[in-house]
């Protein structure tokens, strides 16, 4: 039992790292740190420079997708390790 719980927690942490990595990349990465470079050198979204678009639109869209993915993954993990909470 303890062992299964430990593995559940480890799997949980691994996914957290992936999700937060993406989170950092789309917002701080594309929207701030590399914004000017992306504006100049990357493709345009419609007529908008890529970095600017990421900062004002793309990052937000990514966040929504991230949360949907998170909910799916975590529900899957819960089922796999049989730790689902009974509804009260």
């Amino acid at each position: 039992m303890r062992d299964a719980e430990d593995r559940y927690w480890k799997a949980n942490l691994r996914w957290l790292v992936v999700i937060l990595g993406t989170w950092f990349f789309v917002s701080f990465g594309c929207g701030i740190l590399f914004r000017d470079w992306l504006d100049e050198n990357f493709f345009k979204v419609g007529t908008a420079p890529f970095g600017f678009w990421m900062a004002q639109q793309g990052s937000i869209i990514s966040f929504v997708l991230l949360l949907i993915a998170y909910a799916k993954i975590m529900n899957g993990l819960d089922a796999k390790y049989h730790v689902e909470e009974e509804s009260k």
């Binding site: 957290l16 701030i32 979204v45 908008a48 600017f52 937000i60 949360l67």
Partner: protein, 591 residues
């Protein structure tokens, strides 16, 4: 039908709806008062949280900030949505599992100490008060617009309404009113944007208009290029570039994000659904509903900038559209005819000769004198900045309100927008007020001062506390501590990031963290941030003294790092937490 009549109709109808819901769903027990009885559906909770989350700052101020600062405004967009990701994956499922009604409750139990609870209560009160000030300011702006009165009177009217139904309904009443408020806000925000997008870009979907072509008056040019050209011609930096330093931009965005994840009034929202699965889907709904508004805000910002310049720049005062005089009347726009040509000129910092970049006059806002100038404009007593040719002053908070006027939209759209603004401010203010009053009645009175408090007395204390908090908020709503709503609110996030976020995160992810570490961390974090903000906002600190060039808005991020370092160091030097606390952490980690 006149504009006033439309306004009263829309606002009256929405109010009747809110009060009806609040009355029907009013709280009977403390559990209903604090967490709505714990049985709200994820979809409804998502909407309610979105309404709670999107404050007057978002609704009124954000698009205006985007309009005037272009790319720089992205810090609010990314900060307030990205923080939600952190909140959902790092905090909410665990805190919900823990199953207490408030954030200080978690901190008090996890760190097995009354002192920790007390520190958390004080932090919560501080954060919520700062935040609610911004809301009251927002309410004031709307009411002043609505009745043509000054902002102070508007603030007082708004406060009376918030008190009436937050105090009455508790969390249960608020949750269902917020669902209605979200719907009003979403329509009010997107409909004007759609109309304007059609006029300017020929595109029905504003988000596509932003990345499309500017088609008004003949052939199309890429919309953002057009905007960049307008900006540079008038001496502003390019719309897509902004002017904030990268490090400042980074820190402000980070402070807003981590602050979101530590904001007590949002965390509490997720205690209202029934299990962890529901929490996850509720969070997805919430962010989707928030995204509807946040993806529209940049389009409103960009469109209104084009409209503002198009309608006012180089226009003779007597030919200026009627709304300009209306806003001048309520003190939210002002014009100084510096070159005496009778025309309104709008220029940016690039056109001024000296440091006072682009300012029309000295001081925070216009101080109107009696009498009229040569063209019939209201005269000012402010000292005029001669080095800058800019003649037009407008409050950034007014952009969203002015937007439909500028685009010449039908009267009912403007009325809808007014109703939306009020919904935004009221829903957030009500949610905050609730957390504030719970902090005082539950965490302070019941858990610390007087443990034998009955349910009834506790609710009574909650109502007294909300009245007290509101009075403070009204005072600061009338005398705002920041230049505009979004900025005041940004301070609240900095404070939350530097106090709660590390304490909560370490409480869940580190079993070694003990009470000494958590308390030391929270205290140093919030004191550091607070003193930085106060020094630079009120005691005359100048931007050249900024630590690494980070402005007070972004210092919460540094405060957070300080908190982490202090907490970790102190906890390593003091005794480990007892075994039952480690077991508690294990319990919280399981869904």
């Amino acid at each position: 039908m006149s504009q006033d009549l439309w306004n009263y109709l829309f606002i009256g109808a929405s109010f009747a709806l809110y009060i009806g819901i609040a009355f029907k769903q009013r709280a009977g027990s403390t559990k209903e008062y604090y967490v709505a009885g714990g049985g709200v559906s994820p979809f409804a909770n998502g909407m309610a949280t979105a309404a709670d989350w999107m404050s007057a700052a978002t609704f009124i101020s954000m698009a205006g900030t985007l309009a005037s600062s272009g790319y720089d405004g992205s810090r609010f967009l990314m900060g307030w949505t990205g923080g939600f990701v952190l909140l959902t994956v790092l905090m909410v499922p665990f805190l919900r599992k823990f199953g207490k009604a408030t954030v200080p409750d978690f901190i008090g139990d996890r760190y097995y100490s009354k002192a920790a609870r007390l520190v958390a209560v004080v932090c919560a009160i501080f954060i919520c008060l700062t935040y609610i000030m911004g809301q009251m300011r927002g309410v004031g702006i709307v009411f002043s617009q609505l009745f043509g009165i000054g902002i102070p009177a508007g603030v007082i009217i708004g406060a009376a309404i918030v008190f009436f139904y937050a105090g009455l309904g508790g969390m249960k009443g608020i949750t269902y009113t917020q669902v209605a408020q979200y719907c009003v806000m979403a329509f009010a925000y997107t409909i004007p944007a759609i109309f304007i997008a059609i006029v300017l870009t020929g595109n029905v979907i504003p988000q596509l208009g932003l990345i499309g072509e500017y088609t008004k008056g003949g052939e199309g040019t890429p919309f953002l290029e057009k905007l960049n050209a307008i900006n540079t011609e008038l001496g502003f930096s390019k719309y897509t570039d902004g002017s904030l330093a990268k490090i400042d931009m980074f820190c402000i965005t980070a402070a807003l994000m981590f602050g979101t994840a530590g904001l007590p009034h949002v965390i509490v929202r997720f205690f209202t659904v029934k299990n962890v699965k529901a929490v996850r889907s509720s969070a997805c709904w919430t962010l989707s509903f928030i995204a509807v508004i946040y993806l529209t805000a940049p389009t409103i910002g960009a469109f209104s900038r084009v409209n503002l310049i198009d309608k006012l720049h180089d226009t003779a005062y007597e030919d200026a559209p009627a709304w300009f005089q209306d806003f001048e009347e309520t003190g939210q726009m002002a014009w100084v005819d510096k070159n005496g040509d009778g025309k309104i000129q709008y220029f940016g910092p690039g056109k001024s000769d000296s440091g006072k970049a682009g300012a029309v006059f000295l001081g925070k806002g216009p101080l109107f004198a009696e009498g009229r100038g040569g063209s019939g404009e209201r005269l000012l007593t402010n000292e005029v900045v001669a080095a800058s040719p800019n003649e037009l002053w407008y409050g950034k908070d007014i952009m969203v309100m002015a937007n439909p006027h500028m685009a010449g939209l039908p009267k009912w759209v403007i009325a809808l927008l007014m109703a939306g603004c009020i919904a935004a401010a009221l829903s957030t203010a009500a949610g905050l007020l609730l957390v504030l009053s719970t902090s005082i009645s539950h965490d302070l009175m019941k858990k610390v001062v007087k443990p034998d408090l009955t349910d009834k007395e506790e609710i009574k204390w909650a109502r007294i506390a909300s009245l007290g908090a509101l009075l403070v908020a009204v005072y600061f709503g009338i005398n705002p501590p920041g230049a505009f709503v979004a900025k005041t609110v940004a301070f609240a996030f900095g404070l939350a990031a530097s106090s709660f976020f590390p304490a909560l995160l370490l409480g869940i992810f580190s079993k070694r963290m003990n009470k000494e570490g958590a308390i030391a961390g929270m205290v140093t974090g919030i004191l550091f941030t607070l003193s930085y903000i106060i020094y630079f906002s009120y005691l005359g600190g100048t931007p050249s003294q900024y630590f690494l060039g980070i402005s007070p808005e972004g210092i919460g991020f540094v405060g957070m790092i300080v908190n982490f370092i202090v907490a970790t160091t102190v906890s390593r030097l003091t005794a480990e937490p007892p075994q039952e606390i480690k077991d508690l952490v294990d319990l919280v980690r399981r869904p």
